[in-house]
Amino acid sequence: MAARGCPVILERLSFGYGRGRLLEDISLSVRRGEVLALVGPNGSGKSTLLRLMAGLLQPVAGRVLICGENAARLSRRAYARRVALLSQQGGAPGAIRVRDLVAMGRFPHQGWLRRASAADRAAVAQAMEDAEVAALAGRPVNTLSGGQAQRARMAMTLAQGGDVLLLDEPTTYLDLRHQFGLLGRARRAAAEGRAVVAVLHDFSLASLYADRLAVLHEGRLDGIGPAAQVLDAAALARVFGVSARLLRDGPAIFPVPRD
């Protein structure tokens, strides 16, 4: 597989604590310009897989390649210049303003004294525009609603830049308009040449915004491919243990329970 077009390559990746395995023998790659959705039941290992891609966990077997380099050899800072993560765990220092939170995204591009360059300021302004928080720039983060805070954190992640954008359940807290807005922005990030990986729970959003879906089941890759290929009634029964049929409307797929 050509490393050139694939900023993220996982080779026979396994992860676990002690003897238990949370992820077993996962191989996949994500191309530039592509949005890959990670789907699967709770506890199937989606977030763990994303954290492995972000270099926050070390695999017990196999390896992660980031832009062709062995991830285990990248420094924390070099990693952060290539891979940006919107984590699920919230939190921001109380009274910090949105603009300052977004500016934190530039941390890996700055020296120890952290002087913001013109490029940093431009990236911050653009990211706030893209995540629709420009109007909130002067607001302290702890006065925002859950959805506003999530968009501010998305802006921080966009400001970080890099080749890979990782999103862990990015639509949490967001109303429909902002779910579309955020995933639309993720699509544009892919169109700009980045590789995007998002943990999504919503099949209709995943089928609409992702080029391919990776279905995780009990720590293994159950299938990977376009939504129309990997999502069918048999897969839903096998992976999620539900009896459902799938309604289709254009590219969108909606699971509906069968009674």
């Binding site: 800072r77 990693y79 952060a80 984590s87 921001a92 910090i96």
Partner: protein, 334 residues
């Protein structure tokens, strides 16, 4: 809620408060000394009675109180920020207790005096902190790990305190002086340690100010901080080490003074928020203000008898700590 745009104004007000308290500190006491006399004593030292009181008694006390107040408040703020725990401070983590034990042991066994006590004090503080961290892992149960840490710190503090008083009790001649030191008496000798302790403390405070933007990232959560390229562990440990240097400098100068390092950071955050250098600068001003106030009360409430500043600070700080706990109890630890 604090508006960052108003922080410079708030800091200026705190600076004025500090200077005002310092002026009161110099003028009030067993003898009233008019501010004009204080200023002329400072400008042109002479050996008149009032001038001597200012230069030999009140000014050294002021220096020591301002120094220890700043050092403990900044140390407490840094610890609370990077450990993300509103109840930690040099005293509640056992750092002060460990330093005090090492100072007393150094005097007792090695006959060390003055500045040479700084090294054993640092070793004692570091050892006590490690013991607290290890113990908190051992007792970790189902509850809030932040409470485990404070419980472990209290146990280590009590153990250090018991050992310290045991050592002190073995030496009847030094008993009185050491006991006064242990409860945070600002005595006439204390300012002699300042030239030695001020350097490391100033360097540590400058380091913490320089790190303040970086440590903001920790509040975004471990995963986010690391994904932003921060060596989260290294920054946390560096910050804790600098806080220990500050706490040891304060203890070696004036003895362990409780509560200040716990309570003042909360006041600073209420006024100046959590992020960036502003609340740290607030601690640099509020800590001295608090201890200078305690020293004014110690010298004035029962004048001409002088009370022990650390015990007055303990009373004020204990009341503030109780209020803080009740408030946290209502809203939950955040």
């Amino acid at each position: 809620m604090t508006d960052p745009a108003r922080h410079p104004f708030t800091l200026a007000l705190l600076a004025v408060l500090c200077v005002g308290l310092a002026a009161v500190h110099q003028s009030f006491g067993a003898v009233w000394i008019p501010p004009g006399t204080v200023l002329s004593a400072l400008a042109a030292p002479s050996d008149g009675f009032l001038e001597t009181v200012v230069l030999r008694q009140r000014l050294p006390r002021l220096e020591v109180a301002a120094f220890a107040g700043a050092a403990l408040a900044v140390a407490g703020f840094a610890l609370q920020k990077v450990l993300r725990n509103p109840l930690v401070s040099p005293s509640t983590l056992g750092i002060s207790g460990g330093a005090a034990l090492a100072v007393v042991a150094g005097q007792f066994f090695l006959a060390l005096r003055g500045g040479s006590l700084l090294l054993p004090a640092t070793a004692g503080a570091g050892t006590a902190l490690m013991a607290t961290l290890a113990l908190s892992r051992l007792i970790a149960g189902q509850g809030d790990p932040r409470l485990d840490l404070v419980l472990a710190g209290s146990m280590v503090s009590m153990l250090c305190g018991a050992l310290t008083t045991f050592l002190v009790s073995l030496d009847p001649q030094a008993f009185d002086g050491l006991m006064r030191w242990l409860v945070g008496d600002i005595g006439l000798q204390d300012s002699r340690a300042l030239p030695l302790t001020a350097g490391p403390a100033a360097a540590a405070a400058a380091g913490l100010l320089a790190l303040s933007r970086t440590t903001d990232l920790l509040a975004a959560g471990d995963d986010t901080a690391r994904a932003l390229g921060l060596a989260a562990g290294a920054v946390t440990w560096m910050t804790v080490a600098l806080a220990v240097v500050l706490a040891v400098a304060a203890v070696a100068t004036v003895g362990p003074i409780g509560f200040l390092g716990l309570v003042v950071p909360h006041m600073a955050r209420l006024l100046l928020g959590e992020a960036g250098p502003a609340p740290l600068a607030g601690c640099l001003l509020l800590g001295p203000a608090m201890l200078i106030l305690a020293d004014i009360l110690a010298r004035c409430l029962m004048a001409p008898q002088v009370m022990i500043t650390g015990t007055v600070m303990g009373l004020i700080g204990g009341a503030a700590f109780l209020a803080l706990l009740l408030r946290l109890g209502r809203r939950g630890l955040e």
